[in-house]
Every structure is written in structure tokens, then in C-alpha cells.
């Protein structure tokens, strides 16, 4: 891979990749930027030795998604961190973004197909028809999949916190 090719791919993909990630992080800028940066560094590691994939954006999205899941799981593990505040410490992540991150992690923990359908519907704003086209199934099948996925999601989502004000 030559430098021109590398930078061309970057210019073509950085905005859609950022948008894809920002929707999943609840538009948390700092986190989105970190993940986008890390994804490109991983791409550089990988693509220099192996060939550039046919669809670099799809590869980058997948890596970014994995990096985010990894980050969230570790964060959850390390401190089971919610937005701080009770002790006067400013939370690193705004409450609404935090909810979005929790939602993303919960969706990611579902089965592959359920997660794919829910992410496409909620984060990428695709219609049932568009999702059906992308997954090569009928619209009815997507509706059923979304219904089941919502049920599973409800079961894995954490209970709303008593304090914090944003939960209804």
C-alpha cells in the first residue's frame, strides 16, 4: 500500500466512519475520536502487511465496533462505572451519552442477527425495508426479528438508576 492510497482511503472513509461511531457513542466526541483514531492505526498495522480489503469502510466499521465493545466491557468491568457526580467529580461521559453506550453494549451482547437489526434500526436510522434488503430477508422477517430483539434487549438492559434524573 502506498501513502497516497492510504490517505485517499482515509479521506473517503473518515466521515462515514465517524458518523457510524458517533451514533453508537451517543455523540460522545472524545470517545468517538479515540475509537476512530485507534481503528485507523489498526488498519495501518494490518493493511501494510496484508492487502487492503475490498470494502475498507466495512472493515473499519467492524474494527471500530469491536474496539468500542472492548472498551465498554472493560470500563464496565473495571469500575462498573456509571456517571459519577455524587462525590462531586465531573463525569467523563455525559449522562445521555452514557445511556447510549449502555444501550449499545446491551445490543452488542445479543445474537449477531438481532444486534445487526437493532443497530441498523436505532443507530443508523434504516427503515424495515432497507434492513430487509441489507439482510436479504423479507420485511416480515425483519419485523419479527426486531420484536424478538427488543424482548431480549429488555431482559439484558440494566435497571434504571434511582438517582440521575434522566430515566423515566
Amino acid at each position: 500500500m502506498q501513502e497516497e492510497q492510504w490517505l485517499r482511503i482515509y479521506r473517503e472513509t473518515v466521515r462515514p466512519l465517524y458518523g457510524y461511531m458517533a451514533k453508537r457513542t451517543g455523540d460522545n466526541r472524545a470517545l468517538t475520536e479515540d475509537i476512530v483514531q485507534e481503528s485507523y492505526l489498526r488498519a495501518l498495522d494490518r493493511w501494510r502487511d496484508k492487502a487492503v480489503p475490498d470494502t475498507p469502510l466495512a472493515w473499519l466499521k467492524q474494527v471500530a465496533r469491536n474496539v468500542l465493545i472492548d472498551y465498554l466491557r472493560r470500563r464496565k468491568w473495571d469500575a462498573d462505572a456509571g456517571p459519577a457526580g455524587a462525590d462531586g467529580v465531573e463525569p467523563r461521559t455525559p449522562a445521555d451519552a452514557f445511556e447510549s453506550l449502555e444501550l449499545f453494549l446491551a445490543i452488542a451482547s445479543l445474537g449477531r442477527r438481532k444486534a445487526r437489526a437493532l443497530e441498523a434500526f436505532y443507530f443508523d436510522g434504516l427503515s424495515v425495508r432497507e434492513i430487509a434488503g441489507e439482510m436479504a430477508v423479507s420485511e416480515r422477517a425483519v419485523e419479527g426479528l426486531l420484536r424478538r430483539a427488543r424482548g431480549s434487549l429488555k431482559a439484558v438492559l440494566p435497571e434504571p438508576r434511582p438517582a440521575g434524573g434522566n430515566h423515566v
Binding site: 501513502e3 492510504w6 490517505l7 482515509y10 479521506r11 473518515v14 466521515r15 465517524y18 458518523g19 458517533a22 451514533k23 455523540d27 466526541r29 468517538t32 475520536e33 479515540d34 475509537i35 476512530v36 483514531q37 485507534e38 485507523y40 492505526l41 495501518l44 501494510r48 474496539v67 472492548d70 472498551y71 472493560r74 470500563r75
Partner: protein, 308 residues
Amino acid sequence: MSNRFEPDAKFVDRLEWQLASEFRRRDRLKPAPGRIAVPRSIAALGLAAGVLLLGVAATKAADLIKDSWRKKIEVARLETEVKIKTAFLELKKETADEIEKRFSLGLISEDAVLTAKLGVERSASDLEKSTLELEEVRASGETPRDELYAPLVGGRDFVSERLEVEKKVLNLDLDLCRARIERTLRQRVDAGVLPKSALDGFQASLAVQEAAIADIENRLTLRKKFLAGEISAAELEVQTRMSAAEKDLREAQSSIETIRPHLEDLRAKEAAGLVTSDEVKGMQLSLDFAQAKADLAVQQIEILKQIK
């Protein structure tokens, strides 16, 4: 609303600049065709291995290298080794810095940082050992000697100095092992995320490290006694062997303690049809092997005790 989910222009520019620099930096590190890229390249590893192998052959060929040309070759070999290891240490430091940077961004675990730091320390110790060997060859005109009964060289005790370096690395290894157990494994095992066997494995390696450190400390004490004239060379050899046998025994016992519950667990699973009999046989073999090592160590200790 318009710029929601849109990257900041400054971020896009800065990242492009960073990625272009990173691309060029890695390009520079790539070995050029037909030329060995020293320092800071993985090629250094291959070269180091080659030089070391050649060096070993040369050293074996001539125990005494007092002849000036032999000494020159040996000194040149060790000087090259020191240069390569210095370059390798720099590479490790750079990698560790990069890892620390990623950790500060919250993208990797602290475990990776600890491992990278240990890698740096190992390389530093490796370099320190080679530097000591070089100094010894320059001072003595002979190949470096590691026997506990080796004489002092120009008033310096190179044997003990190298043992101290070894001990330092083992201590760092031990710290890392303990940190892993405390920070991650124990919590996860307690939370039921990992099986208890994961903890057992680490605790066994902890016991092995502790045994190795105890062995080095013992050798250092014996060396001191020998140099002070408190024990003869013959007594020193017996006690050195005793120390090694005791270390082997501790290691083997630790392995047995770790393997036994695994084996029982596997047998229960085999009965329930969850694992194959081959897996059980493999584990049984490991246990037999550890038991044989322990028996051999006990025999050696018995024989050595009779000499005393």
C-alpha cells in the same frame, strides 16, 4: 443539528497528519532490500540470533582466548551483541511508550502495559548481562565464566553480578504475575466469569518463579561463602547441586498440586461425557511426569545428603 454525528474539521486534519506521519515512520523502520536495518528493526532479532549462534560456536571452539586475535574476535562479537541489544532495548521502549499511550486513551488494558514494561526490563537486563560479559572478556582475556567456583577477575565478582541481574528479572516477572492475579484473575474467578483453574495456573507459575528466585539467592550465598574461604570448591559443588535439586522438587510439587484437581475435574467430566478420554490421559501423563521429576529430585537430595 447540522453537525451532529459529523467530525470536527480540526480532528480530521490532525488525524490525517498523524496517520501520514505514522505511515512514513513505519516505512522508515522497514528494512531496506539488501541492507540490514540496524537499529530499531525486527531484523535486529534475526541478526542477534545469528551473531549469538556464531558466537557460541566460536566460544566453544576455544576456551582460552588469551591469544590476542582470539580475544579480539570475542570482544568484537560481544561489542556487536551489546550494540544489537541496545537497539533492541530502544525498540522495546518505543513499543512500551506506544502501549502506554493507548492505555491512557482507555483502549487497552493495564495488563498490556505491565507486560510491555516487563519486556523493557528483560531487554535491559539482557543488555546488562552482555555488557558484563564484555567487561569480563576485556579484563580476563577468557570466555566469561558462570561457575560458582570461578575466580574473581581484576577484583570483580562477575558471577554474582550476573546472578543479581537474573534475580532482578525474575523478581519483576513475579511482580507481574502477582499483579495479574490481584487485578484481574482473582476478581473474575470470584465473580464466576473465569474457572478457578485459571487462577491455579497462575499461582503455579508464581510458585515456580519464587523457587527460581530462592535458588538464585542460595547460589549467591554459596558464592559469597566460597569467596570468603568458608567452603571448598568440592563442598560448593555439592551444595549448588542440592540447591538445584530443592528447586526442582518445589517446582514439581507445585505442578502436582495444580494438575491433581484438574485431573479430578476432567475425570468427572469424562464420566458425564463432556470430555474425551484422550484429554484425561494427557492430563494423567502430565501428572506422572511431574511426579517422576519430584521423585528424581528427592533421590538426588538423598544422595547429596550422604556426601555431607
